[in-house]
């Protein structure tokens, strides 16, 4: 099945913009992002901590709806889903 991942800001800089990915049925949100982010160690470190958990400031969305970090590991993705992952942009 095909899922679109959209990174924004710093995450996009490190991992690219619109990524179409093939995922096996039953893949969970966190594992999908983990797999994609691991392609760039710096990108992975920007999104995940040393225990492999999302940094608490990371914003996760699926089809325009917020996914809480605590729920991401048990939230399945399905064919056609559009996922957004982004940090708060802080500079002024």
């Amino acid at each position: 099945m095909s899922v679109k991942i959209r990174f924004f800001a710093r995450f996009r800089e490190l991992l690219g913009s619109d990524i179409m990915t093939d995922a096996a049925a039953g893949t969970m949100f966190t594992s999908l992002i983990t797999t994609v982010a691991k392609k760039n160690p710096e990108g992975y470190a920007a999104i995940f901590d040393e225990n492999g958990a999302f940094h608490e400031f990371v914003i996760l969305m699926k089809n325009g709806k917020r996914i809480e970090i605590a729920d991401a590991a048990t939230t399945p993705v399905v064919d056609g889903d559009e996922i957004a992952v982004f940090p708060p942009v802080a500079g002024g």
Binding site: A9, R10, F57, P88, V89, A90, G91, G92
Partner: protein, 251 residues
């Protein structure tokens, strides 16, 4: 009433919203938190538009490393208080408005008082803890908070209208770690101009604000995106869990 000079100055925009609109701008008070990368374009555009009273707060001194983006400040201002530099430039660009430039660090003890009776708050800050304070005051006073953030070639903006839209904590519940951020002046110019435009529309009561919409700018791709954002009923700032603290008391 407008002087002949004001009529001439605002002629091209009064073609859009008339004397009544211009009068609204003249009577308005806007609070700008920060006289840096975002605060520069925001304050300049609000000043030339004729927003009657602008309060701008910053506690920093102009540094050479600011000058790639903070267009209120010139090379000759290095070492000078940003508030002093800002007041001079803004007053020079429009002598018919009132500028209050306050050299202080915004904290929980002074935020509400500093914002006073302002009609709106512009977030031109560089850190989330102080942004959350502005968010609290905006909720308490029921006035809009126009948020902006920049990093590198990327930026974001949204307009928070308490009671209607998600608040800043609904959208970004946790602050990112503080770091020295890379940034180009053009990103600050673009996002700051979006923020100034939001303030003008709000004061004039025209158009569509960035309500419940996070505007995201990617300057590398020259691409703008929009993400719909929703209120969090459990939000600790505006939801049912919100505590009544002194900062939340109405003005």
């Amino acid at each position: 009433m407008f002087s002949e000079r004001e009529r001439e100055r605002y002629k091209r925009q009064m073609m859009l919203f008339g004397e009544e609109g211009q009068e609204r701008l003249k009577k308005a008070q806007i609070f700008i938190a920060g006289a840096g990368g975002l605060g520069s374009p925001v304050s300049l555009y609000l000043a030339v538009a004729g927003v009657g009273t602008i309060t701008i707060v910053d506690r920093d001194v102009v540094d050479q490393t600011n000058l790639n983006r903070q267009i209120l400040h010139f090379d000759r201002d290095i070492g000078r208080k940003k508030t002093s530099s800002a007041k001079e430039k803004l007053q020079e660009i429009n002598p018919d408005i009132t500028i209050h430039a306050i050299d202080v660090k915004i904290d929980e003890t002074n935020a509400s008082k500093l914002i006073g009776n302002a009609n709106g708050i512009v977030d031109a800050l560089d850190n989330y803890p102080t942004r959350y304070l502005l968010n609290e005051v905006a909720i308490a006073k029921e006035i809009p908070l126009v948020h902006g953030g920049i990093r590198g070639f990327y930026g974001q903006a949204t307009t928070i209208v308490p009671g209607t839209t998600p608040c800043l904590k609904c959208i970004f519940p946790k602050p990112p770690p503080q770091e020295v951020l890379p940034v180009v002046g053009a990103t600050a110019g673009l996002i700051g101009t979006v923020q100034a435009n939001e303030v003008l529309k709000y004061l004039l009561g025209i158009g569509e604000l960035l309500k419940g919409r996070l505007f995201i700018w990617d300057g590398i791709q020259a691409h703008a995106d929009e993400i719909c954002v929703e209120r969090n009923p459990a939000c600790e700032a505006c939801g049912s869990k919100a505590k009544k603290t002194p900062a939340r008391e109405k003005k």
